[in-house]
């Protein structure tokens, strides 16, 4: 009887495939709550690296979010929704504070990093009334950390609170490609139908 052994490079390939799969699993997770489509991305962390360094130096860091939804086919754009969140880190309480500037202003305080990230995504939920339950949907989430000096442009330097940034300007900022040095994340999911989501089947 001939005994077949597993060659080491197969093991390496299997490990690398697993690693690649794990990395690819940093995806957007959709769920529904009544007529709203909700988003979560537990593997995506944007309060890291340079933005976190700036936050720990008492600066506020603006993050621009954009949700893009396609329905029916991948070419049929259903909705593009931008939002700007300003995050700060309380040096004494060691907790995060997040303010959503657009479309309406809301603030959440005393959050951990994970909770702050999750809160931002919660604020991006979309009303999908009118979308057929069997219609395939695709979703994409883009997140960009803005440099404090450029965040308010073209409305004045740096002071995001007083920048009075408009939705149109935010769309314009997000329509430009992200700079290579700018921390940014893009994750996608789909196709998935509302019916599937309501049945509790989640796509990852």
């Amino acid at each position: 009887m001939r005994v077949r052994t597993i060659k080491p490079w197969w093991l390496i390939a299997a490990f690398l495939s697993g690693l690649a799969f794990a990395m690819a699993a940093e995806d957007l997770i959709l769920s529904t709550e009544e007529s709203r489509l909700e988003f979560s991305a537990p593997r995506v962390h944007f309060l890291v690296g340079k933005p976190l360094e700036r936050l720990r130096n008492a600066s506020e860091v603006p993050f621009d979010f954009k949700i893009t939804l396609w329905s029916g086919t991948r070419n049929h754009l259903l909705r593009e929704v931008p939002a700007r969140f300003v995050v700060s880190y309380d040096l004494w309480e060691e907790k995060f504070s997040v303010t959503r500037l657009l479309p309406t202003r809301r603030t959440a305080r005393h959050l951990t990093d994970i909770a702050a990230e999750a809160w931002c995504l919660q604020q991006m939920s979309q009303d999908v009334t009118g979308v057929s339950a069997t219609e395939p949907l695709w979703a994409r989430l883009e997140i960009r950390a803005q440099d404090g000096k450029e965040a308010g442009l073209p409305f004045g330097r740096g002071n995001i609170t007083d920048s009075g940034i408009s939705l149109t300007s935010l769309i314009e900022i997000l329509s430009r490609p992200a700079a290579t040095t700018q921390p940014h994340w893009t994750i996608e999911t789909g196709p998935v139908t509302l019916e599937e989501l309501r049945r509790g089947r989640r796509r990852g």
Binding site: R106, A108, H110
Partner: protein, 421 residues
């Protein structure tokens, strides 16, 4: 009954209280949660921090005790950068010793010295004297600055000189209080007809070169002294080519003080005062094998007061030369900085051995009016006070003005425009 009352209170209070898992949400308030914190102290660290002006120090000191205000601190950081001419100032914020207090540290990044710098030192158009310009390129390598520049100037002296300038500067020789500098320059000259008619044949030269090693010592802030030697050689415009030397001992005493506050906070604008004064002596001596022997004394002072959009400046210049000095050492009035509106060739085409000049400039929101008065003379009986008036605009180093000499008869305005003069 009591149980029912307690249950009733709980039933009323509990729904209103936030659940521990739910983050409290608010509609308004600052985006940076640290603005609630109080600044305990502000520190400036780095090699050049001792050179900060008093107004800026005063504004930095005023931050302590106030709420943490990032835009205000950003503006202060920009002012430190601008004042010290450093490429980078970093702001670090850390917890203070007292609860809910922070310490702000500004770090002047000496290690990130700007390696290459281009500088337009002077650019000017004068309706009588034409264009003048001066630019430098500087390479900084570990506290050593190597510069190379070109110049063509028809405004400052009675000649137009054009050529190259090169220099080496060491800003820190063991201590910040000692600086060394070596300058080399080589010029070709052009002369106005009025000067050629007045000058003796041996006064006019075609080319000149200078080499001047100088040391500067900061005696006691804000007083510093420079001393060194200026070796000049110039080729005379004689039928037989002849080169002369003018080697002079050079020393300058400078004083620069600033006080008051530029007023970062509304209602606390005391105004900013700036006083610069200098006295310089250049003595050409046979000990250094100089052909002409002379002693040139010059005293200058300028006081400036800024408050809000108002800017007042009062200047004084006085000087005297004893002995026979080459033309490039002589005093000139009637250019873009002195007796504006007058033509220097009408006042004294050769320059003079004595000078006295005063000026008052007043600016409001970039609009400028000025008054100049002064005289140049060789002999006391030639002394005649001249005056001029002008108006224009001045913004961020750029100036555009028209000036009128005050005299009876025709009005001949002089127009000039330029940067950094």
């Amino acid at each position: 009954m009591r149980k029912l009352l307690i249950m009733g209170i709980f039933a009323t209070v509990l729904p209103a209280a936030p659940l521990p898992d739910e983050p409290p949400e608010q509609e308004a308030g600052p985006t940076n949660v640290n603005t609630r914190l109080i600044v305990e102290s502000v520190r400036v660290a780095g090699r050049w921090s001792a050179k900060l002006s008093n107004p800026l120090r005063s504004d930095l000191d005023q931050i302590a005790g106030q709420n943490f205000d990032p835009p205000l601190l950003d503006r202060l950081r920009d002012r430190i950068k601008q004042e010290l001419k450093v490429p980078d100032v970093r702001m670090h914020v850390a917890k203070g010793d007292m609860p809910d207090h922070v310490i702000v540290n500004f770090e002047i990044g000496a290690e990130h010295e700007k390696r290459f710098d281009l500088d337009l030192a002077r650019f000017l158009y004068h309706s009588r004297q034409g264009w003048s310009g001066q630019g430098h390129a500087t390479v900084n390598i570990h506290q050593n600055a190597f510069s190379f520049g070109m110049v063509s100037d028809g405004d400052r002296l009675s000649e137009r000189y054009a050529g190259i300038q090169a220099g080496y500067e060491r800003r820190h020789v063991g201590t910040d209080r000692l600086q060394l500098r070596f300058d080399f320059s080589s010029y070709h000259e052009q002369w106005n007809q009025a000067t050629l008619l007045e000058a003796a044949p041996g006064d006019i030269y075609r080319t000149r070169t200078h080499f001047s090693p100088l040391a500067t010592v900061v005696i006691l802030e804000p007083l510093e002294v420079s001393f060194g030697v200026d070796f000049a050689r110039y080729r005379l415009s004689l039928p037989v080519a002849k080169t002369e030397s003018s080697n002079a001992v050079v020393s300058t005493l400078r004083y620069h003080q600033r006080w008051g506050s530029a007023g970062l906070h509304s209602g606390r604008d005391e105004g900013e005062h700036d006083l610069r004064a200098s006295y310089s002596l250049r003595a050409g001596t046979h000990v250094l094998e100089s052909d002409p022997a002379f002693a040139r004394h010059q005293a200058e002072a300028r006081y400036r007061f800024r408050r809000g959009h108002q800017d007042l400046s009062v200047g004084f210049l006085g000087g005297t030369i004893s002995g026979r000095a080459p033309l490039f050492e002589r005093f000139v009035l009637g250019n873009a900085e002195t007796l504006r509106g007058w033509n220097k060739f009408d006042l004294d085409p050769l320059g003079a051995s004595h000078v006295a000049h005063g000026s008052i400039d007043y600016g409001y929101r970039g609009f400028l009016v000025f008054y100049d008065t002064g005289a140049v003379w060789d002999r006391p009986e030639e002394r005649e006070q001249k005056q001029s008036l002008g108006l224009g605009c001045k913004k961020s180093g750029f100036q555009l003005a028209v000036a009128f000499p005050v005299r009876s008869g025709t009005v001949n305005p002089v127009f000039y425009a330029g940067m950094n003069f």
